[in-house]
């Protein structure tokens, strides 16, 4: 029982990342009809926003300490972050400690801007082009983004630890009557899940309860008619692209403390998030979210010893197997609309 609960938690957690990326992809797809292969790269850029904030906060001046030696026997260079000298060591250390949550504030405008520039500068010209061209150009863009990040940050993963107060783990098992150590779960993973739920809720209520969202939804259903009504739907769609980029970026910022960001993390998620979107059904936002969590949970269960001994290698192929089964039984994924991307 405890093992099952634990894997459900894990699944929700993995699913959070899948759902957030898939949500953004579907937003772009549903509004603009563009297949965005650079979406994984946006996730990666988000994570590197956190890395940059951490680096900025750690900007240091160097003093030579004659009493200590470095590896070549020269005097050791001691680095003191500016933040610490400005605000005093303790406040400074706390600011650095909270760099990941701070990075959210930094990432929102950056990602909105990246999304805006991307849409206006590039994607706009590809609305009428075949999907194959969209794939090629966004894939090229993804490679470029990724190589630029590699050029500045290197290929090695970079740790972005969570704040001290939110690191470590809690024993959830005790709270609901299990033995100690039965259900230990990292705090930041719980934070991530809560954050994902919050973002998803915010996006849905934005679309559901604001006039802007209503127009966008109308545009998704029938772009031409909305245009004929004299509404500038293009501008709204551009903003939606920015929002989708920000969602991916925030998913990346918060993901850093779970697994240290590296420049190709976007590619690792790219294929998976497409599978998620399609399993959910093209063009369906609830479908994307549902499929994200579902695949996350199934993936977690497939990696238990019980599953891998029953069917060897099931943990390697589960996602794809599920995708095949879903697509063969439900032609348009879980909640897909008819006629979207079927040609």
């Amino acid at each position: 029982m405890d093992a099952i609960l634990l894997q459900i938690l894990n699944g929700l957690d993995k699913g959070s990342a899948y759902a957030l990326i898939a949500l953004g992809l579907t937003l772009i797809f549903g509004t603009l009809g563009v297949v965005n292969f650079a979406h994984g790269a946006l996730f990666m850029i988000g994570a590197f926003c956190a890395v940059s904030v951490q680096k900025l906060l750690n900007l240091s001046f160097v003093t030579l300490d004659e009493t200590q030696k470095d590896f070549l026997g020269n005097p050791l260079k001691v680095e003191t972050p500016y933040v610490q000298s400005w605000f005093g060591p303790e406040v400074g250390a706390t600011i650095i400690d909270w760099s990941v949550p701070l990075a959210i504030l930094f990432a929102i405008p950056i990602m909105l801007m990246v999304g805006y520039v991307m849409e206006r500068g590039l994607i706009k010209h590809f609305y009428k082009r075949p999907h194959a061209d969209q794939i090629l150009v966004t894939f090229g863009l993804a490679i470029v983004m990724q190589e630029v990040v590699k050029y500045f940050f290197g290929a090695n993963p970079i740790q972005t630890p969570p704040p001290e107060a939110l690191s470590g783990s809690v024993d959830l098992g005790i709270m609901i009557g299990f033995d100690t150590n039965a259900i230990i779960y990292p705090i930041w993973r719980l934070v991530y899940f809560a954050f994902a739920v919050g973002i998803i809720g915010a996006v849905f209520s934005f679309l559901q309860f604001t006039t802007f969202g209503m127009v966008v939804r109308a545009g998704m259903a029938d772009r031409e008619t909305v245009g004929l009504l004299g509404i500038n739907i293009d501008r709204r769609f551009t903003i939606m692209f920015g929002i989708a980029a920000a969602v991916a970026g925030l998913a990346g910022v918060m993901y850093g403390p779970l697994n240290p960001p590296n420049y190709h993390m976007g590619m690792d998620f790219l294929v998976l998030s497409f599978v998620v979107v399609v399993v959910g059904g093209m063009g369906s936002l609830p479908g994307a979210v549902l499929a994200g969590f579902l695949l996350g949970i199934l993936e977690s269960f497939a990696s238990t010893t019980w599953a891998t001994t029953t069917i060897p290698g099931i943990n390697q192929i589960i996602i794809y197997l599920v995708a095949i089964i879903v697509l063969l039984t439900r032609p348009r994924g879980l909640m897909g609309r008819k006629g979207v991307m079927e040609e």
């Binding site: 634990l6 779960y185 590296n262 190709h264 943990n315």
Partner: protein
């Protein structure tokens, strides 16, 4: 840079022009007269450095490349000479190899067997490379080793830790300076017993491919010989980026040690996840929970950051060693690049010098002569103390390091501290050991 490096091709060209000038009637000549593949005929010789430059191991590859460039400088008599001064063999004179200036070409393995073979082939076929050096994974090492055997050039393997490289996939033209999974197990086990006791229950997470399996096999064998019990061995897909669903059940399994048979990005993430779950703060079976990472590298340690504190593992070499060879190399590398070298960099550096030295001693670039000179060669002064290249399987034997993540690092480079230097005798094994049996070295191929 003002040195106008004369390429081998350039020399060939001038030679060829002169040649055709002399023998005009026979323009169409087949150049099959060479005694062996890519016999250097001009005043220079080309070495091929095949390392990952893109993909997750790009940093590792970059470090290897820096070390190899340094080795070329030293061979050509530039710089401070590095390990040439401490090397026990004095055949190298700092005038290139056999009087020929050393040049190099580089290629990108992408850490994929296919791409690695393609770039090695291009260096052999297009640039006339006489040996291939470097690499950062066992799959690539075995693939390129096979290619070099077929093509008739010497291969020096770089970072490859799987037993198979000098086990069932060993080849007469290939040599490995790096240690292997068996040696990791043999070196780690006594330290583990001393630090954690003989009654431990281990849980293995293993990357699901060849290297992971051989390492798991080696570590399980050597720890069980101590009296440890293996609770479970779980294979994780190589493509995994998040290990939470593998880590979560560990604490409840009755194990009190977690062994991570992962490397590179897998290791960074699985260790980070394990720390997140607070494993190291827990008590299981009345003992403090421990984590072991059998294969460490500096770059991965840097990627794992604070998480490696107190975690034990093994290494081929570390810049903090105090022998003369190590000190000379660290000084030379550090002054040029401003950071200490990693252990894969040291491997590639040492291999380049060793190859050059073997050529000098053999008096020829012929791979068969070079292989003969390297076989059962004993030397000292390149780091790790007295070292032996065993002729039977072309595996190198030297001291192995057991290291631990430093609790209080003073700078970015001493994140690992040396716990013990395991003497060579303790990690030696019979060439017919079951973990290595099955392959055949075959005969050396010079491509003639």
């Amino acid at each position: 840079m003002t040195n106008k490096s004369v390429t081998r091709r350039g020399v060939l060209k001038s030679g060829a022009v002169a040649g055709t000038g002399l023998a005009l009637p026979t323009i169409f000549t087949a150049s099959s007269a060479a005694a062996y593949t890519n016999e250097p005929t001009g005043s220079s010789v080309v070495l091929g450095f095949n390392v990952p430059q893109t993909g997750p191991y790009a940093e590792e590859g970059n470090d290897e490349l820096l070390a190899q460039q340094l080795a070329v400088e030293h061979l050509n008599g530039e710089g401070d000479g590095g390990c040439m001064n401490t090397f026990s063999s004095k055949a190298l004179k700092g005038n290139g190899i056999l009087g020929k200036k050393v040049e190099f070409v580089t290629g990108d393995t992408q850490t994929k067997s296919d791409a690695a073979r393609a770039s090695a082939k291009s260096m052999i076929e297009k640039d006339g490379a006489i040996m291939i050096n470097g690499g950062s994974s066992s799959g690539v090492a075995v693939a390129v080793q096979g290619l070099c055997q077929e093509a008739g050039v010497i291969f020096m393997a770089g970072l490859t830790h799987a037993n198979d490289t000098t086990g069932k996939d060993k080849k007469a033209n290939g040599f490995r300076h790096f240690f292997n999974a068996y040696m990791s197990g043999a070196a780690l086990a006594p330290v583990l017993a001393a630090e954690m006791g003989k009654e431990r229950r281990a849980y293995h997470l293993t990357a699901d491919y060849n290297w992971g399996w051989t390492q798991e096999e080696s570590i399980v064998a050597s720890t069980e010989a101590l009296g440890w019990e293996t609770v479970n061995t779980v294979k994780t897909p190589l493509a995994s980026t998040d290990f939470s669903s593998y880590i979560a059940p560990v604490l409840n399994s009755g194990a009190d040690v977690l062994v991570l048979n992962h490397y590179g990005g897998n290791m960074v993430n699985s260790l980070t996840n394990a720390i997140q779950f607070g494993l190291l703060d827990k008590v299981a079976n009345g003992k403090d929970f421990k984590i072991v990472v059998p294969l460490y590298s500096e770059l991965m340690a840097a990627g794992a950051g604070e998480n490696i504190k107190g975690v034990l593992g093994s290494m081929n070499w570390n810049w903090q060693l105090q022998d003369e060879g190590t000190k000379a190399f660290v000084k030379s590398f550090g002054e040029k690049y401003g950071k200490p070298p990693s252990n894969s960099a040291q491997t590639c550096y040492a291999q380049t010098l060793l190859y050059a030295d073997a050529v000098e001693r053999a008096g020829t670039f012929n791979p068969c002569g070079v292989a003969e000179a390297l076989e059962d060669f004993e030397f000292d002064g390149l780091g790790n103390g007295p070292t032996w290249y065993r002729g039977a399987d072309h595996q190198c034997f030297k001291d192995v390091l057991v290291v631990r993540g430093n609790e209080n690092p003073t700078n970015a480079y001493d994140t690992l501290e040396i716990v013990e230097i395991t003497p060579r005798a303790q990690v030696e094994y019979d060439p017919e050991h079951p973990m290595f049996a099955g392959g055949e070295l075959g005969k050396c191929n010079s491509g003639a």
